[in-house]
């Protein structure tokens, strides 16, 4: 009991302990803030990629695509684990406004808006058709009447960053209704063998589309370079409609209680059987390059970079933790040097070396617990107001910490994870104990006779 009492008294009566406490609190604060922002960013990015992809994808990176996708779609829809599945065309195109000489290269994704909206989170990314994704490619009646649009022309959905101006605060400025703008989308149609389907002056396929909506997926690369077009139009533009229809990918959403790995396993098995049944059919060789991937695997190249950055930051802050250990070590070395008399007194009344170690380690652990609590409390306060602080910095000094045009996320992630905070606090306590270990052992080895009677023999 005296160890606890003395540890507490040392903590608040030794001013030097306050410095160690501040060091621990600052370290915990920094780690909590950075880990929260970084893991929030990575988590949000993962979530957005999951939403963009669905749970599972079947397909190929090849621009040629694969055949018999409709048959496989039917098989998928009849299985008990699949909630929705949607075929997708993926290729590259040139887009230019009608009447303009300028054009730009984009990624074109051909989708059936209704099924794609069920298999992925596409519907939630739309601005004008958020409530009815099936009408994503249809200009609203108001617009059609106002601008006398040809009802037969399809609409297109464009990545929000390619179409809408965004200010430094990350706010988009949308018109009340979609503007009546027509673009031409030009693709190079490919045969099933990967050759250009056309020759001469008629090398490319071009079609006019009307702007119908924007998509804000929150993934900068998608919002800045992707145009969605109706599946059949994109399929025709890319030469994938005939002679045997092809698609690039099938996006799948599993039923709520089906785990991603389990669901992917079932789809993989299903695909294996399907492949064996269809590989010898015309253009069946295209099925050989089809992969079944979970969403994480499919978006690996995008997510991995951020995860690596997170690991790198964790390692860097591990080094900050080492500094804390060193500070605690120095502080405890000083305290032990100043407390040799106390150690002698304790030993003279029967305390053992282990008791002395426990006393100083308890002191260190207490320092770690209080330092962590202060650091976490300060970190939570800072995180709660982090976006307001960032706004204030921008308004007051013109300094923008969080560039929305790069991160494509409206605000700095600030939801702290309890588990992460407990782990950080635990590490801080361990760091304090580690820093105090050597001085504590030194204290335990002090001979009472030397500390109590140094000047007398």
């Amino acid at each position: 009991m005296y160890k606890l009492i003395l540890a507490i008294r040392y903590l608040y009566r030794r001013r030097v302990s306050y410095f160690a406490l501040i060091a621990v609190a600052l370290c915990v604060f920094i780690v909590v803030v950075v880990m929260t922002v970084m893991s929030g960013l990575v988590g949000e990015f993962r979530e957005k990629n999951h939403s963009f992809t669905g749970d599972c994808v079947v397909g190929t990176e090849s621009l040629v695509g694969f055949t018999y996708y409709e048959d496989f779609l039917r098989k998928l829809e009849s299985t008990d684990c699949v909630e929705a599945a949607s075929a997708v065309i993926k290729s590259y195109a040139l887009v230019g406004k009608v009447g303009s000489q300028r054009n730009m290269g984009v990624e074109i994704i051909g989708i059936d808006a209704a099924t794609y909206g069920r298999a992925t989170g596409f519907g939630g990314t739309l601005h004008y058709h958020k409530d009815d994704v099936s009408r994503a490619f249809k200009p609203t009646a108001v617009v059609r009447q106002a601008h006398h649009l040809d009802a037969n022309l399809p609409g297109f959905v464009v990545g929000v960053d390619m179409w809408i101006w965004r200010d430094e605060k990350g706010e988009y400025y949308f018109a009340p209704n979609p503007e009546a703008t027509a673009v031409t989308i030009t693709c190079f149609p490919l045969t099933a063998r990967g050759a250009l389907a056309k020759a001469g002056t008629d090398l490319v396929n071009t079609k006019t589309f009307y702007f119908s909506d924007t998509s804000h997926s929150g993934i900068a690369r998608v919002d800045g370079s992707v145009i969605y077009a109706p599946f059949e139009d994109a399929q025709a533009l890319c030469g994938m409609k005939e002679p045997i229809a092809r698609a690039s990918w099938i996006h799948i959403k599993f039923k709520p209680m089906v785990g991603i790995d389990k669901g992917c396993g079932k789809v993989r098995k299903l695909w294996g059987t399907f492949y064996e049944q269809n590989k010898d059919k015309p253009n069946g060789e295209l099925l050989a390059q089809v992969k079944v991937q979970g969403w994480k695997e499919h978006r690996r190249e995008f997510i991995a970079a951020m995860e690596k950055e997170q690991v790198m930051l964790t390692v860097m802050f591990g080094l900050v933790g080492l500094t804390t250990i060193f500070i605690v070590f120095v502080v405890f070395y000083m305290i032990v040097s100043h407390k040799t008399k106390d150690i002698g007194i304790l030993k003279s009344v029967g305390a053992s070396g282990c008791d002395v170690v426990e006393l100083f380690l308890g002191f260190a652990a207490g320092l770690g617990v209080i330092g962590s609590a202060v650091g976490i409390a300060f970190g939570l306060w800072f995180l709660r107001d982090i976006n307001a602080i960032e706004d204030w910095l921008f308004e007051r000094f013109g300094f923008q910490l969080w560039d929305r045009t790069i991160y494509a996320i409206g605000e700095i992630p600030h939801r702290a994870d309890l588990t992460m905070m407990l782990v950080v606090a635990g590490c801080a306590v361990l760091a304090c104990v580690a820093g105090a270990a050597l001085p504590s052992v030194r204290a335990a080895k002090e001979r009472p006779v030397e500390t109590l009677q140094v000047s007398q023999i």
Binding site: M1, Y2, Y10, K347, S352, L452, Q453
Partner: protein, 231 residues
Amino acid sequence: MSKNDYILEAQGIHKTYRLGIAEVSVLKGADLAAKKGEFVAIVGASGSGKSTLLHILGALDKPDNGSVRFEGRDLGKMGGGELNRYRNKMVGFVFQFYHLLDELSVLENVVLPAMVSAGVVGWIMGRGNAKKRGLELLEQVGLKDRASHKPYQLSGGERQRTAIARALMNEPKLLLADEPTGNLDSATGNGILELLERLNRAGQTIVMVTHDERVARRAGRIITLADGKVK
């Protein structure tokens, strides 16, 4: 008197300190014995080894040669845990410079030996009794009203009386006092000696070290230490 009446026996105690390359022999075969209830004073000039002998008697230091027996048991054959218990239960130390813990109150300093021996659970269960005894001891040394004070708020004499109360906390069989009046004025020192005499009259065995013959005369028996040996 039978040999069993001796609570403490030290035989042939040798102790040499190494100071740089020089070796200083402080004790060269010192012998000492104290009976139960005796008040023994060890006197000697400064540097004669009297404090060293007291530390060896109290197991704060180990002799290079010789043996110390407490109630017939050789301290040299005791393990670390047994020596800790010996310091905690069997002997009480009173130092010249009081050696109180500034972080604890007067009462907490007094009950410290009980806290050390009790452990957390034992302390929680028995702290009421321990505090009661601590207060009784403080009353005995005239400091009951200073129980909640910190040591630095006390005078030298009060600190020494607190140290005596602490030394008596676990009802030790032997009280070892190292120059208990050495840091006090004569009036205050006299008060401390009266307290020790009173304790001795109540049956407490005391071995006191002092360089002052007048102080030593207050004890029942005087042992003179010179040239590392008892004369």
